[in-house]
């Protein structure tokens, strides 16, 4: 089969590799019908994610048709049309039972490596380094899906692939980011990053009752999408002082909740050069510019919600401000399995059509050039690829 493989920073090639096989009795094999490049794939593309090996198959946003199931798979059947969540969860451990699916104890075969780095390991992810299990990803014609009865959600309606694909990651991720804000009627939510997760966070914040959503970015197409599709007020961080504007827009209070939908590769801010230099010297792994501003902007007693990915160490964290203002922090990989059914219901009831974020449609063969284009962010918000 054809698959998009990683060979090094900035080096992604579509190669012919052996087809995946059932390795465990609860596995299924999915024939991919549509897959996407995620913003977090760009962290891999840019070489910020440790634990990658030459030839690793990328991709954690995919859907398709079940073509084979292992002997212990009971619910999923050959021919089912499914969307697969990007986190792999066993459904049986303490964390899965508590609804903290992405913290699953049992799916990462390399848990001891992540344990050494972080103290303990969460669940495995598709196509996201060997620290997260080393499972081959879905930017391929076929993919092996472990615990097939736990993760994949069967799509029975006539919705198109493009309408349901983003249940695999970015819609639930944006939704959980908004849910983590503990939104009350009358609340204002500020969202840094108008990439796909930011776009879904905007929509979700309104769904959850926010009165105002203020979106921050600098790319005109993304700000336009946030404004036109998301009905958000927008701020271009390159032309205004975001902290001053937010203070003014909220009558001096500050936003009730702030979402960092950017993560470890933040741009902008007076300290950008400082962080970039420390990162280059390996004195700091992550550039937390957005996180710092979210903390500074947030109102007293407010919530900072972090769907953006962080991987290592950050510097000059304004902990004093966070403490003085009594902020709440909510973060982590999305507990996908909680959101699949409720969000599919919202799509089926035509409350939202997630395909609005797509800017580019292509085939898997063109993966390499589209990674580069998405990485430049110029005029590109979301790339979806058909395997053939």
């Amino acid at each position: 089969m054809k698959a998009a493989c990683w060979y090094g920073s900035g080096d992604i090639r579509v190669e012919t590799v052996p087809d995946p096989q059932i390795l465990n009795p609860q596995d299924a094999i999915i024939k991919v019908t549509l897959t996407a490049i995620c913003g977090s794939d760009l962290h891999i593309y840019n070489g910020f994610i440790p634990g990658m090996e030459r030839g690793d198959i990328l991709g954690h946003e995919f859907m398709g048709e079940v073509v084979e199931v292992g002997p212990k798979v009971q619910k999923l059947k050959k021919g089912d049309r499914v969307v697969v969540p990007f986190t792999i969860s066993c459904g049986k451990c303490f964390f899965c039972k508590a609804g903290q699916w992405s913290l699953c104890d049992n799916t990462n075969p390399n848990a001891e490596l992540l344990e050494k780095l972080y103290g303990s390991s969460g669940g495995a992810l598709f196509g996201y380094s060997h620290l997260y299990g080393g499972y081959a990803g879905g930017q391929a014609e076929y993919v092996r899906v472990p615990f097939a009865d736990v993760g994949p959600i069967v799509i029975e309606s006539d919705l198109t692939d493009e309408q349901v694909l983003f249940l695999s990651d970015i819609f639930p991720t944006g939704y959980m980011a908004a849910e983590n804000c503990n939104i009350k009627p009358g609340d204002t939510v500020a969202i840094w990053g108008c990439g796909p997760v930011g776009q879904f966070a905007i929509r979700s914040a309104y769904m959850l009752g926010a009165s105002r959503v203020i979106a921050i970015d600098t790319y005109p197409d993304r700000l336009r999408m946030a404004h036109d599709m998301g009905k958000a007020e927008t701020l271009d961080y390159a032309s205004v002082s975001v902290l001053e504007e937010l203070k003014d827009l909220t009558g001096g209070r500050g936003p009730d909740a702030c979402i960092d939908a950017v993560g470890l590769e933040a741009h902008g801010g007076f300290e950008y050069a400082y962080d970039r230099a420390k990162q280059a010297l390996m004195l700091e792994t992550d550039r937390p510019g957005v996180l710092r501003r979210a903390i500074m902007a947030c109102r007293k007693g407010g919530t900072v919600s972090i769907p953006g990915v962080y991987g290592g160490f950050i510097d000059k964290m304004p902990m004093g401000a966070a403490f003085a203002k009594g902020l709440t922090f909510k973060m982590g990989q999305t507990h996908m399995h909680n959101y699949l059914r409720p969000l599919l219901d919202r799509i089926e009831s035509r409350e939202i059509d997630p395909s609005f974020v797509i800017s580019h449609r292509t085939t898997l063969a063109e993966a390499s050039s589209h990674y580069a284009m998405f990485n430049s962010r110029e005029g590109c918000t979301k790339v979806v690829m058909r395997p053939s």
């Binding site: 590799v17 995946p20 059932i22 609860q26 690793d56 459904g91 049992n106 472990p146």
Partner: protein, 256 residues
């Protein structure tokens, strides 16, 4: 991994060796004084000291113990490792599974085989660094059903070891806590342990990984793996020969 401290400094050198050390060390020391050779004086003093005290630091680092001892693994020798896991499964069934030592290689990656020769004795084969296999015979020295198994290796073993595994009920109905403690004298002693640590095979990590596989098996009925999965550097010709399921049986097969 914890290097066991040499607290009461029990002798580790055999009496005959000590006598030889006293004589040769003393001669070297006197020779050094006469000729003003400071290096000879220092070396002589060190060897003399080794003979008089019966304690040799080099032996300790290399895991050598020649002094007579009635225990397989003098408690000051070697390294100690420990790890723990909580498994969401009843204690009795996990204990029963573990007590059938033949089951252990199913989740302990470096064990090749375990054969129980009678109720308290067993023969173990493990694969060590560089693909060498090591064998030893073990005896259960302490056993409390559903709670504790303690063992030590018998004389003549290639690796002297002693250890225990304890099973306790986790609070709040969270299953069973398993704690493994292992003291062993690795090939080439503490030096060997440091070397293997440099190459990324820290014993604590290995035990922890083994325990995680046991947990996966009991909680989900399978052990997470990507072994045999393809990627962009797998030659296409390998695909045909790849194996199917990994070696764990199903839960119903192993539980009484």
């Amino acid at each position: 991994m914890q290097v066991i401290p040499w607290r009461n400094k029990a002798p580790n050198v055999h009496p005959i060796e000590r006598a030889v050390s006293v004589v040769t060390g003393g001669m070297l020391f006197i020779n050094g004084i006469r000729n003003g050779g400071f290096i000879r004086m220092a070396a002589g003093a060190a060897i003399l000291g080794r003979g008089l005290t019966g304690r040799c630091h080099m032996y300790r680092l290399l895991g050598i113990h020649t002094a007579p001892s009635d225990s397989t693994l003098p408690y000051e020798l070697g390294v100690k490792a420990r790890a723990a896991v909580t498994v969401g499964h009843p204690r009795h069934e996990i204990y029963e599974f573990w007590r059938q030592f033949e089951n252990l290689p199913r989740f302990m990656r470096h064990l090749v085989s375990v054969d129980q020769t009678d109720t308290t004795h067993s023969h173990w084969v493990a694969e060590g660094p560089g693909g060498h296999t090591y064998e030893w015979d073990a005896e259960i020295i302490n056993e409390i059903p559903d709670q504790l198994i303690g063992w030590k290796s018998l004389p003549g073993s290639q690796i002297a070891s002693a250890g225990s595994v304890r099973f306790t009920e986790a609070p709040g109905d969270r299953g069973t806590e398993i704690r493994v403690e292992l003291q062993y004298n690795p090939p080439a002693g503490i030096v060997g342990a440091w070397a293997s640590r440099l190459f990324g095979r820290e014993p604590e990590q290995e035990i922890s990984a083994d325990l995680k596989r046991l947990k996966q098996f009991f909680e989900t009925g399978e052990v997470a793996t990507t072994a045999g999965q393809s990627n962009g550097v797998t030659p296409l010709c390998v695909a045909a020969g790849r194996t199917g399921y990994n070696t764990m049986p199903s839960l119903d097969e192993v539980l009484p």
